[in-house]
Symmetry: C2
Subunit: 317 residues, 2 copies
């Protein structure tokens, strides 16, 4: 089974009936599922979490763009979050049975279709980017909707697909591919936020730590304890348990310990199986040994009546 996640952000976070109409259009598009919908009135922006296979995700995104073009007019949109389009950004994320490169190719295919069908300029970003200066979403979005009529004339910012002029009401859109992002927080048995900040500096990539870790130290006032707040940007390369163990080791150096950790939002099964595999020191484990996954992918094994040890004859007395 192939699972792709997509977390499109669209520029409406206030009008309940519009948000509902857009979500409805996505829901009716086919087999992809809506896992979450978060709207923020201050940002005037909503974040939809979708999952499905290649065809389902593609149909859902095209339905989303259709509905947003119909309902959102960016020329009158105000909100605190930077934005350049009615559908602002569409990331594609490999979850299972699909690679980051597959998602980058799908981003290009979907971007091409959006440019052609809706006459919206499309920028490919992150793993789908066509040039280094376009990898970073913030760099693409800089100037926002209001600044894009000028920016789009710069040859450096010619769109990857669609016309060379901003759509009057729908703006532009960024479509990209990236790894699954896990928001992961580790709580310390200390009220000293400086300890959390030092640990964050030790573990994060930007100051010499683990490659796919972003981190900062914050104070959880309600619980009077300090927290290392982490974004894991590629859990397959930098797994949860490695971060946990590094924080444990750094915390000991300050005479404190880990109280607990928390995963914000959803987490792919594989990230937790990695941890079980590590701590139980499993030999030869692979996810196909999980009953539920075998059930999904099951096919009758070739019948072989030759003697082989019964792997799980629970009834043998």
């Amino acid at each position: 089974m192939t699972i792709i996640e997509s977390v499109p952000n669209f520029s409406e976070g206030r009008r309940a009936e519009v948000i509902a109409a857009i979500a409805d259009a996505v829901r009716r598009s086919g087999p992809a599922r809506i896992l979450d919908l978060s709207s923020d009135a201050d940002h005037n922006r909503s974040v939809l979490t979708l999952a499905g296979d290649t065809g389902g995700i593609r149909a859902a995104i095209l339905a989303l763009v259709t509905a947003c073009v119909e309902h959102i007019d960016l020329s009158v949109h105000r909100g605190r979050h930077p934005r350049m389009g009615a559908v602002d950004v569409i990331p594609l994320v490999p979850v299972r049975g699909v690679s980051l490169q597959d998602c980058a190719r799908l981003a290009a295919a979907i971007g091409e279709e959006i440019g052609r069908r809706f006459q919206i300029p499309v920028y490919l970003y992150e793993a789908a980017a066509t040039a280094d200066h376009r990898r970073d979403l913030a760099a693409i979005r800089k100037g926002e909707f209001e600044g894009f009529p000028a920016k789009i004339r710069d040859p450096l910012w010619k769109p990857d697909f669609g016309p060379d002029r901003v759509h009057p009401t729908a703006g532009c859109v960024a479509v990209g591919a990236r790894e699954f992002l896990i928001a992961y927080n580790i709580n310390l048995a200390t009220g000293d936020v400086e300890v959390a900040r030092r640990i964050a500096r030790a573990i994060r990539h930007s100051s010499g730590g683990l490659r796919y870790v972003k981190a900062m130290g914050v104070m959880l006032e309600a619980r009077a304890l300090a927290q290392v707040s982490i974004n894991m940007t590629d859990f397959r390369s930098t797994p949860l348990h490695r971060v946990f163990e590094m924080v444990r080791s750094e915390a000991a150096r300050y005479g404190t310990t880990i109280v607990g950790s928390e995963i914000v939002g959803l987490v792919p099964e594989e990230a937790l199986l990695q941890a079980a595999d590590f701590y139980l020191r499993l030999e030869g484990f692979e996810p196909g040994r999980v009953l539920e996954r075998r059930l999904e992918e099951s096919a009758l094994p070739a019948v072989s009546p030759s003697v082989r040890p019964s792997p799980r004859d629970g009834e043998s007395s």
Copy 2:
């Protein structure tokens, strides 16, 4: 989603065409899936691992019984493993969204139907047993096919369903419900099997250890190391990580360590999530946070345009 596992054992492990015909009948019965099929010529016995929902499992088992009655004649069957029926034993195991008691009720319903339709005496065992002396499968099976014409006349061994006489070719069958059994081995950094035996005695229920643990110490000659070989009979009550940690602690007392552990056969996702939860000290974790599980069970959340923190707006710059 409801998942029940069933691991029926049937009395044919040599004739490939018969085994294939029986497996085919099960496969054509409906939505239940065959996860594994192991045949042992010495035992002259096969073990089928099935999974599905209530209706699928019921249809698969009835198809299995039909095919075994047709193809197997126990009056000419020889093999090393004790057996009393063409279909010898049918355990039902709760995996997800279903309780042990649900499986016990299903065992009774399936047992009733087997007794009535096939005129085979049926004994309910383990969690489905109707009397304490019938809980244990070995006690029921004692005497085997050849001894049953006498045993069945004893009022203590009157069948739960079906006639009071043994089926001439299909014998009798035991249908029961039990928890999922995990075969779990822990390998030690020592070649001294006595250490593994002592650890096995420390952790197993029969000699004062954990309630749902059976264990013995064995020598892995090929790797020249000792192993604690474990059957976990209820991983929800006695989880893997607790056994692992107890073995680690006992091993340290003998100056040795754990080299690795292995899960034989399949394992329910929940057993590994328990371990990840324990070692990562997760706060407020529940399996619904796993993306794949949310995808299975997804429904659109109520649209609420009120301000709430975006749980995973990975695109916010």
